[in-house]
């Protein structure tokens, strides 16, 4: 819960935040960073690679990188200001950021290229990526999914944040043919599992039960805006930052959830 609190605090400095899509992928991203990524041999950072393909979820990545000591707190304090280095989408070269994302549908291709490169280099490194459900509407995501399976990239693990909302509306109502998602991955020769994306233990167990030999998709059912009742399932919080009153309510909400 500390991550959401930190994101809400930062929200008071900027008008555009992407709070709700950050809140849906908190547990997924935390499981990857704290549970699955292997540390680098020199103790600095990780030997495995993380890619936030849904770039608008990067607040979650930032606060986790801050907690890991990779991203300085001062930079989060300077978020979206001319004095700082962090924007509302990840920028390659910043501490812990492997790729500049923000335009959707790019992560699957980049991650596929990364995974194939590590295979060529015989490094044993794994590539983890967090994708949104909305960006699976981009054809390029499926170009990448097909190719990753063709190349049998078992070192590629994709976590999909199935929060059921794009920027505009509920996808299961507006784009019903998008579902079911798991069958689509399976038909492209991926191994997959469906879990509750807010249940860390369930996600760990699913990955541990993986058979391997193929790319892996963990389809995480989540709630957009999770943790703040008035944000949950409400599309406007894709973009908005809470005002002072809303912030106070959100903080109170978070306490109630954690209690």
């Amino acid at each position: 819960m500390q991550y959401r609190r930190r994101i809400l605090d930062i929200s008071q400095k900027v008008s555009a935040l992407h709070a709700a899509p950050a809140f849906s992928c908190v547990e997924m991203t935390d499981v990857i960073y704290r549970g699955l990524m292997r540390p680098a041999e020199d103790g600095k950072g990780f030997s495995d690679v993380f890619l936030m393909s849904k770039g608008h979820g990067c607040m979650t990545q930032y606060v986790i990188l801050e907690a890991l000591g990779i991203l300085p707190s001062e930079e989060l304090d300077r978020y979206c200001t001319p004095q700082g280095i962090l924007g509302a989408h990840p920028d390659r070269g910043n501490p812990g950021i492997e790729a500049s994302t923000g335009s959707l549908g790019h992560g699957m291709g980049i991650a596929t290229g990364m995974a194939h490169a590590e295979k060529i280099l015989r490094s044993g490194k794994r590539i983890f990526a967090v994708l949104s459900d909305g960006e699976l509407q981009e054809g390029s995501s499926w170009e990448g999914a097909m190719m990753a399976a063709n190349l049998r990239l078992e070192n590629l693990l994709v976590f999909v944040d199935l929060n059921d909302f794009g920027g505009l509306e509920r996808m299961s109502e507006s784009h019903a043919a998008f579902y079911p998602v798991q069958e689509k991955f399976e038909s492209f020769a991926w191994e997959s599992a469906v879990v509750n994306g807010h249940d860390c233990a369930a996600m760990h167990q699913a990955v541990a039960a993986r058979r391997g030999g193929r790319p892996y998709a963990l389809l995480c059912k989540t709630v957009k805006g999770r943790g703040v009742a008035f944000m949950e399932h409400v599309p406007i919080w894709h973009y908005r930052s809470p005002n002072k009153e809303e912030y106070a309510t959100a903080i109170r909400d978070l306490r109630e959830v954690s209690a």
Binding site: I110, I120, E143
Partner: protein
């Protein structure tokens, strides 16, 4: 040019294990087929999927490899444009995008296969460099430069196959970012890039018989443009003809006029380019260029003005 590229790449790849090729369903002829056989993991065919061709190159580059994306120019640059912009240029990755059949090389295939605006489009993106060699020998040198550089993205615009050698008497070797003269002259100068420089050479030869001495310059690097070299050229010749197998906007012709204006120069500059039209006409490469108004006689006429 295609075969020279493949041969040059294979030779380098046998020494540098980081070199890879990502193609999108284009047949690996000649030396490229050899590369595929020798290094199957480093030759990736994404199928008819150009966005992932670029995306994979980005990911491979981020992990330390040196990938080249390779397909027909329209599909190399236009179809995955935003991937080139965001994945390669925004992140300044040393990936070479090879466009085969620049201009209207594929003269019987229609405008879906004509890269008529590629130089302007590629040049517009920050960090992107643009090279368009004029013959196999210049292709070899340009390819080696792309292989050796680690700074950022390059668009390498090639023709097809069978282009004649025209750089045999060049006054200087290929140097990235520097124009060079393919032949000297006193009275006028043709400058351009790519295989249609052969037309400039033909026109210069024809005019020489009539006592007019014409120089020909290869501006193989379109970005960064050799502004100093062009300013020097404009200062030395009173009659200039720019030829380019590209639409009239956003290419060398525009740039040369800007350089002349900025330098306060008073030379006569004529620009011959593709028309700004989709032309529904088919035939040989030369025949289609002629429909666009690009032929050596037109260059002669443009040069032979009082």
């Amino acid at each position: 040019m295609r075969n020279t590229f493949a041969k040059t790449f294979l030779e380098a790849a046998q020494k540098d294990a980081r070199l890879c090729v990502v193609v999108a369903d284009i047949s690996p002829a000649g030396a490229m087929d050899q590369f595929r056989k020798e290094f199957p993991e480093r030759f990736i065919n994404t199928g008819v999927a150009e966005q992932i061709m670029i995306g994979m190159c980005a990911g491979m580059s981020m992990r330390g490899l040196k990938p080249f994306a390779y397909t027909i120019a329209t599909f190399a640059l236009y179809r995955p444009f935003e991937f080139i912009r965001d994945d390669l240029c925004y992140q300044d990755l040393p990936v070479t995008v090879v466009g085969i059949g620049g201009g209207v090389t594929y003269s019987t295939l229609g405008s879906t296969h004509h890269a008529m605006e590629d130089v302007a489009i590629a040049s517009a993106i920050p960090n992107m460099r643009v090279i368009a060699p004029c013959d196999p020998e210049e292709t070899r040198a340009a390819t080696n430069w792309c292989i050796g550089q680690e700074e950022g993205p390059v668009y390498l615009r090639l023709g097809k196959a069978g282009e004649p050698l025209i750089t045999g008497n060049a006054t200087s070797p290929f140097e990235f970012g520097k124009l060079r003269y393919l032949r000297e002259g006193r009275d006028a100068c043709v400058l351009g890039y790519g295989p249609i420089l052969k037309m400039g050479m033909d026109a210069a030869n024809a005019l020489e018989d009539r006592g007019i001495s014409v120089a020909v310059a290869s501006v193989h690097t379109l970005k960064p443009l050799d502004r100093e070299g062009i300013a020097d050229l404009l200062g030395r010749f009173s009659r200039i003809v720019v030829i380019e197998e590209m639409v009239p906007q956003g290419g060398l012709g525009d740039a040369v006029k800007v350089i002349a204006w900025d330098g306060g120069l008073s030379c006569t500059i004529k620009c011959l380019s593709l028309k700004h039209e989709f032309i529904h006409s088919y035939g040989s490469h030369g025949e289609l260029l002629a429909v666009h108004g690009l032929e050596s006689r037109a260059i002669e006429r443009a040069l032979d003005v009082a």
